[in-house]
């Protein structure tokens, strides 16, 4: 009796766990950016408690602005990291773009929009050269872009001094087209009495566009495939080289947007700026769940990473902590955010 009860009277359907339906919560927890999201919420609540000014709408607009100047680049850098490559030249490439536009327009007394167009071409070309050298030499992107980083640092200084006669570019505030260019790249939009910088909207738009490309288009699949296993991807017909060159050029485009903001927010650029910022962009992407090895990550994650960085950076000021400890707190916060990220992701994967 007992033995017959265990025998199935009819064959139960075989359940394959690979095609089993996951609950919406589970699939949410499996997303690369969820850890960062939790970290961001924790940080947000934390600063809301310790810094009363943090929650003021105008303060929040400042936090968003600070985040957007990192986030715009983090979009491109996140895509590139998903595609399995690294770019150390991004920080100075932003300034190269700004310097190109500024010096060219100034030297020839052109309408600034000419310089803006040329800067776009130069930024895309820098990305193209990075990607092309990478594809031709098969050297690690770390080396190739480190070389570009050094060369651009030198070029920024040398050309600015050679053409402008000073290490800071001359002011272009009186050139034709400056006002309209400033309106496009560095204005502020008033929403319910709060001034929000236009970069915040560019940032959001670029994140949405990048997410759409990643998740809904063939190019997005190529990016994941190229970063996951380039050889396997090539074997199934993914144009790995073109994808990677394209990604470097996308980073160049992001650099152009931020470079133009840098130029038109201030009308002059210091040629030594930008060094070290490349790490902030990479940090934002990593906090947002992009793997350093490629093939995994999301554009939204990079945005949340930038937002975490912006909150930590500005929140410390709003909390009025002793400035001597600033860098220490910043580092600690980044570490905690990434650990939370890791824990949440592991939990999600175990389920």
């Amino acid at each position: 009796m007992a033995s017959t009860a265990t025998l199935p009277s009819h064959r139960a359907p075989v359940i394959d766990e690979r095609i089993g339906r996951r609950s919406p919560l589970q699939s949410l927890l499996g997303r690369p950016e969820v850890g960062a999201l939790v970290g961001a919420v924790v940080l947000f609540v934390f600063f809301s408690i310790v810094a009363p000014t943090f929650l003021q709408p105008s303060s929040f607009a400042t936090v968003l602005y600070g985040s957007s100047t990192i986030g715009i680049m983090a979009v491109g850098v996140a895509l590139l990291m998903i595609g399995g490559e690294f770019d150390l030249s991004t920080g100075v490439a932003v300034i190269s773009s700004a310097i190109t536009a500024s010096l060219f327009s100034w030297y020839f007394s052109f309408n600034v929009w000419v310089g803006v167009g040329l800067a776009l071409a130069v930024s895309l070309a820098i990305g193209f050269v990075n990607g092309w050298i990478l594809a031709r030499t098969k050297l690690p992107s770390f080396i190739v872009t480190l070389a570009t980083f050094l060369m651009l640092t030198g070029l920024n200084l040398a050309l600015t001094r050679l053409i402008g006669g000073s290490v800071s570019t001359p002011s272009i505030a009186n050139l034709d087209g400056f006002a309209s260019a400033r309106a496009v790249f560095a204005s502020a939009v008033t929403i319910a009495g709060i001034e929000v910088k236009i970069t915040v909207f560019y940032w959001i738009a670029m994140v949405l566009l990048a997410s759409w490309v990643l998740l809904r288009t063939r190019v997005g699949n190529w990016i994941f495939a190229a970063g996951g296993d380039a050889n396997a991807a090539r074997a199934v017909g993914v144009p790995v080289t073109k994808t990677k060159i394209g990604l470097f050029m996308a980073v160049g485009f992001c650099g152009w947007v931020l470079g133009m903001h840098n130029l038109f927010a201030f009308d002059a650029v210091q040629s030594g700026e930008g060094i070290g910022n490349e790490f902030l962009y990479i940090i934002a992407a990593v906090i947002g769940g992009c793997l350093l090895t490629g093939g995994y990550g999301s554009a939204i994650g990079g945005a949340i990473g930038a937002f975490i960085f912006g909150m930590a950076n500005k929140g410390i000021i709003y909390a009025q902590w002793n400035p001597d400890w600033f860098k220490f707190f910043l580092g600690l916060m980044l570490l905690l955010a990434t650990i939370v990220n890791l824990i949440v992701k592991r939990r999600a994967e175990l389920k």
Binding site: S59, T62, Y65, F110, N156, S168, L175, K242, F266, S271
Partner: protein, 331 residues
């Protein structure tokens, strides 16, 4: 398909600037050359000297352009060839001093931002019989390290001058914006301000990223509502802080250290209260000239004391006089 759109895109990129060639700006570009570089003056008949000018300039700081201009003016007059090198890293700056000794220069002008790192290299220079002049920073250790004179402004003194000005204008709660955390000279400036105005707060910003300077200063102003003045420690940073004031809707005044053309204009326009100029042109000019004087007649200017090139206060009363020199890049 993809390729075609690419080439078309590139073609448009190339075309747009060409079309815009006609779109010249009516104003604001590079001024047409007007007999530039005409020094015209007599050059000293002394034999040509080779002098190394070694600074700790971070790449891209406009301040050092002015120092170099002063040095070049003295060099042109004194028949001196200047070998200019710089490295923000103290260890590498010491190597530059060593290289200058190897090149058997006739004199060394060097900045002492981090004196301990340069001590040994300078001793070698003195032992080799090369006259050494220090400039900009390090007035207190200059003589001890073997330099026969020093050209510079005392940073703490400059800070106190700012503090005294603030007090006289009735300002009580300054924010002192330091663009490079751990830089001794910058800390001394804010320390000097704090000496006179005890309620001074220090704000550290990332000087490598102007947008970050702007947003961080905005954050500070939003949270410190009772701050009545904010001080930039360099002309470009002060200009950026001005934007933060607008962003934060703050009513705080602005004061500054150092000078450039735009800052001078802002002082004339009343947007900035005043700035403290350490007259970097004189530092470059004086140190090269002092080496020439030393070679010519064994002169030692300064009587064993540092020669002070500042602080000189530039405010609304004298800014319009300074403006044209600032625009020429010598103030």
């Amino acid at each position: 398909m993809l390729k075609k759109t690419w080439t078309r895109g590139l073609a448009t990129l190339a075309l747009v600037p060409m079309l815009a060639l006609t779109a010249c700006s009516a104003q604001g570009g590079k001024p047409a050359d007007t007999a530039a570089g005409g020094s015209g003056g007599q050059v000293a008949s002394t034999p040509r000297l080779k002098v190394a000018l070694i600074t700790h300039a971070a790449a891209g700081d406009t301040f050092w352009d002015i120092v170099r201009k002063g040095a070049e003016a003295a060099a042109a007059k004194d028949n001196v060839e200047i070998l200019y090198t710089s490295d923000a890293d103290a260890g590498r700056q010491a190597q530059l001093v060593q290289q200058a000794i190897d090149q058997k220069v006739d004199g060394i002008a060097v900045t002492l931002a981090k004196p301990d790192a340069l001590k040994d290299a300078l001793k070698k220079a003195v032992d080799a019989g090369i006259p050494v002049v220090t400039l900009n920073s390090g007035s207190d250790v200059s003589a001890k390290l073997g330099a026969f004179t020093h050209f510079g402004s005392d940073e703490k003194l400059a800070g106190e001058a700012v503090g005294a000005q603030l007090v006289s204008q009735g300002l009580k709660h300054p924010i002192c914006v330091i663009q490079e955390q751990g830089n001794v000279a910058l800390e001394q400036r804010c320390g000097g301000v704090k000496e006179k105005v005890p309620n001074t707060e220090i704000l550290y910003v990332n000087g490598q990223d102007m947008t970050s300077v702007q947003s961080t200063a905005t954050a500070k102003l939003q949270t410190t509502k009772d701050a009545d003045v904010i001080i930039g420690l360099g002309a470009p940073f002060t200009l950026t802080v001005l934007k933060s004031i607008a962003d934060a809707g703050s009513s705080a005044k602005v004061a500054s250290f150092d000078l450039n053309g735009e800052l001078a204009q802002d002082i004339v326009d009343g947007k900035v209260l005043f700035t403290v100029d350490q007259q970097p042109y004189l530092q470059g000019y004086g140190s090269i000239d002092a080496i020439w004087q030393n070679k010519v007649g064994g002169f030692r200017i300064g009587g064993g004391q540092p020669v002070l090139t500042g602080p000189a206060i530039v405010d609304k009363s004298n800014a319009s006089d300074v403006l044209k020199f600032a625009q020429q890049g010598i103030r």
